[in-house]
């Protein structure tokens, strides 16, 4: 099968039950989406599928086709210039950084749906993304900065 990832077509050899996460990481070498739990609980594996943040660890590629537009953190912008990436850099959100690609992808969906979210709307949307390093205050702040841009 073929998948459209970051505006490029890839011929995929993995079997159809394989979660997108492992196709990205092991077959295609796109390691920006991370393995954190494998059961859809933590959000480190989030990628955009047709503009929606989806957990790639529980999305078998059999559910997808070449028609779906998949965007991973690597393809979010050229040179990290998406306004969320810029805001993340401006205030230094990352500690270990492992959760941050998933946080940013989820925040992209949030701003797509709601360009000017309140603090509690940010909390609601982002509460499924765990950060073990406790960067939540900065995540909130960075989303607010990006929303203003």
């Amino acid at each position: 099968m073929r998948l459209n990832i970051n505006s490029k077509y890839y011929e995929i050899n993995s079997e159809s039950d394989t979660p997108l996460l492992w196709v990205l990481r092991d077959e295609l070498g796109l390691t920006g989406a991370k393995y954190g739990c494998g059961i859809g609980f933590c959000g480190t594996c989030a990628v955009l599928i047709d503009g929606k943040a989806r957990r790639s660890c529980i999305t078998p590629i059999g559910e997808l086709s070449g028609k779906n537009m998949i965007i991973t953190i690597e393809g979010l912008s050229e040179n990290g210039l998406h306004k969320l990436q810029k805001a993340w850099l401006e205030i230094g959100v990352s500690q270990c950084g492992y959760c941050q690609p998933g946080q940013i992808i989820t925040a992209v969906e949030l701003l797509n749906e709601n360009p000017n979210p309140s603090e509690s709307e940010i909390n609601d949307k982002m509460s499924g993304n765990i950060c073990r390093c406790g960067t939540y205050n900065k995540i909130r702040q960075a989303i607010q900065i990006a929303a203003k841009e």
Partner: protein
């Protein structure tokens, strides 16, 4: 801690001297990289020079700085680079931190105990200063002018009079003839001269992190590599009796299943296929040694070891004796443990997330039955550490699986496997017996702890008379290890809660009480500052309360005030955390604040709800769904203040943790009169008066 590590000259390497930097910054495929450098080298001649083991200067003026400690998110790649770049007068934008492989020549590489800055502060500064002097000497010789007419800035040497300048990179061949300056002749900058230290730099890897290019341990890949997972006993200490991989063999991508000391290793052509194959393998286990044991039994048994307590002095007029308890905790790093290993021709190369590449090296050597000199351990970014990476079980296992399968392999623990086979923060039960005389002065302090053996009572940071620290042990064989702030997570919860209970017994305000029992000026200052910043005497609404606690350790002092409100239904809300830190010179202030924020979140999560429990010899949790962590909704703001200081820099990573849970429990008492003596707090019903 002075020059604990050698600054001896290493051979000048003119040619391709390449560390791991390029891998860390995300260039794909290690072997490709070496090939391109070789080519470059043949055409262009001298490429770089490494005057000591800490620094390498490239012709293009890039400066590679050796980072001997592991990056876990604490920012060590940035802060050690700042320290070195400061003395070198280096151009920050052209700094490339390179992780050191595990080798004793780099000194102590154990990333723990908040020691990275303390141990390497002098060494890395001196290394930078030494190379700067050599560059100046080389430029002086080149221009035929005295060295004292030259100055350095942003990786250039300038001659003040003529406005001539030459980059460090252009000097690399010339530096080769310059003798190494004696360390004694090196004068380091005084704090007023700092240009880099003291000004926030966000993590140097951030641009790679937000674009998905940063290479964590789990992201490492070598052409032809296979993927491994492990199946282990469902019971603590259970051993493999037999396994049957007949069904797994039918799955595409299955490569092999191997009996290893921990259970069964399964190797396949992708991580997912390895998980799938593991699901199909039937296993039989020999019971572990504690099949009838559970957390409640351990709690009761440990408590009963505390029955006998020594007496307090005879002048004691009021006293109490209380039991406190904390549970097991998993590290639950965001990135489950994993390691790459390639065993070939009697040698093994590792890429991994260890917190100590030297012990990782010996662990792999031991597992393979080869000498350490045949093992190379490279350190990649780690998605959290918190102490977990001090155990190198995943490194040794990956090495063995590579040997058994004959492939380069990447071993990944599933989240469930990771949580169920951790080396946990130990569970402990404590008893404190203390009291006051007729004037309200403390008469004695007896703290006895019962644990599996590793938890020790330590002196409170105040001046108390008659301190007795005692411990008793019963070992159940539950694996334990170091966990952020180690012993202090338990002991400060107990000590600072009991100090609060003493203040209440003496009928003195808990802040005043603490000041009355310490003469330590740094401790007094953090306490006074946190009281001032939090407006300690401000009246709080009904059902709200505040608590205070302090910490002294790792060469630093901290104090926290927590404010809480309880709803009518007894629901607890943390309204505010105010933290004050005295860490001496603050190298990277913004990052220090971020670490304090993270430590506060850790401490809140573990105070409020996280715990690992045992039932019938099994660990009951398997992920963040049942080993609960805070979400963004529950994250309070942190108001953070650093005391300005020119004292030597202290530790940070662990300093922000220990005072939080007692300050929180003290606040709960202040709000509703319920004293929480057992963590997590979710076990105590909080009633509003």
């Amino acid at each position: 801690m002075k020059n604990s590590v050698s600054l001896e000259r290493r051979n000048f390497t003119i040619g391709a001297a390449l560390g791991l930097g390029a891998v860390v910054t995300g260039i794909s495929g290690v072997s490709d990289l070496f090939a391109s450098i070789d080519k470059f080298d043949k055409e262009k001649g001298a490429f770089s020079i490494a005057p000591n083991i800490w620094l390498e200067i490239r012709k293009d003026n890039t400066i590679l700085i050796t980072i001997p400690r592991s990056e876990l998110g604490q920012g060590v790649r940035t802060s050690l680079s700042m320290i070195t770049a400061e003395e070198l007068d280096a151009d920050w934008d052209k700094i490339l931190p390179v992780n050191a492989e595990g080798d004793s020549k780099y000194g102590n590489q154990s990333t723990g105990g908040s020691t990275s800055i303390r141990v390497f502060w002098e060494t890395m500064r001196t290394a930078g200063a030494q190379v700067r002097l050599m560059l100046v000497a080389a430029a002086a010789k080149h221009w035929g002018v005295p060295a004292n007419k030259l100055r350095t800035e942003n990786s250039y040497v300038y001659e003040s009079q003529s406005n001539r300048k030459i980059s460090y990179g252009e000097l690399i061949e010339k530096v080769a003839d310059i003798p190494i300056p004696d360390i004694k002749s090196i004068k380091l900058k005084s704090p007023e001269e700092f240009k880099i230290i003291g000004k926030t730099k966000w993590h140097i890897d951030n641009p790679d992190i937000v674009t998905g290019k940063a290479v964590y341990s789990s992201d490492f890949k070598l052409q032809g590599m296979k993927y491994a997972v492990v199946i282990r006993s469902p019971h603590i200490g259970g051993k493999l009796k037999s396994f049957d991989d007949l069904d797994a063999r039918k799955i595409n991508g299955f490569i092999g299943a191997y009996s290893i000391p921990e259970g069964v290793a399964v190797v396949a052509n992708s991580t997912y296929n390895a998980f799938k194959c593991a699901d199909k393998i039937k296993t039989e286990w020999i019971d572990g040694p504690i099949m009838n044991v559970g957390s409640d039994i351990i709690s009761n048994e440990l408590s009963s070891l505390l029955d006998e307590m020594p007496d307090l002095p005879a002048n004691t007029v009021k006293s109490f004796e209380h039991i406190y308890e904390v549970p097991l905790l998993a590290h639950a790093t965001m990135e489950p443990m994993n390691s790459f290993a390639n065993f070939k021709d009697g040698k093994c190369e590792i890429f991994t997330m260890t917190q100590n590449p030297q012990t990782a090296r010996s662990a792999a050597a031991k597992a393979l039955g080869i000498g350490e000199e045949n093992v190379k351990v490279n350190v990649l970014l780690s998605g959290g550490g918190f102490g977990r990476g001090h155990r190198n079980d995943f490194v040794a296992m990956a090495a063995l699986i590579s040997k058994l399968s004959g492939y380069p392999v990447k071993l990944t623990y599933s989240k469930e496997d990771d949580i169920k086979n951790d080396f946990y923060r130990p569970m402990s039960v404590h008893k404190v017996k203390t009291g006051i005389d007729k004037n309200g002065a403390v008469t004695g302090w007896i703290h006895k702890v019962a644990s599996q053996g590793t938890v020790k009572a330590t002196d409170p940071q105040y001046d108390l008379p008659g301190i007795k620290n005692l411990d008793v042990a019963k070992n159940y064989g539950i694996p334990t290890g170091s966990w952020r702030a180690v012993n202090n997570t338990q002991v400060y919860f107990v000590n600072e809660s009991a100090i609060d209970e003493l203040a209440i017994l003496a009928n003195v305000d808990p802040f005043d009480f603490r000041l009355n029992i310490t003469k330590d000026t740094r401790l007094r200052r953090v306490l006074e500052t946190v009281a001032e910043k939090s407006e300690w005497t401000r009246k709080l609404p009904k059902n709200s309360g505040r608590g205070i606690a302090s910490f002294a350790g790792y060469g630093a002092y901290s104090a926290h005030v927590v404010e809480v409100t309880l709803s009518k239904a007894g629901e607890l809300k943390v309204d505010r955390i105010v933290a004050v830190l005295d860490c001496g010179i603050a190298i990277n202030p913004g990052n220090i604040e971020a670490q304090f924020m993270g430590a506060a979140m850790d401490a809140l999560a573990t105070a409020l709800k996280s715990e690992i429990t045992v039932k019938n010899g099994r660990i009951m949790q398997s992920g963040f769904h049942d080993f609960e962590w805070l979400t963004i909704k529950e994250a309070p703001k942190l108001e953070f203040f650093v005391i300005p200081s020119n004292e030597s820099p202290g530790g940070i990573g662990e300093v922000g943790f220990p005072a939080v849970s007692p300050a929180l429990c003290n606040a709960i008492y202040n709000a509703c009169g319920v004293r929480v003596r057992k963590l997590p707090i979710k076990h105590t019903s909080l009633k509003v008066m």
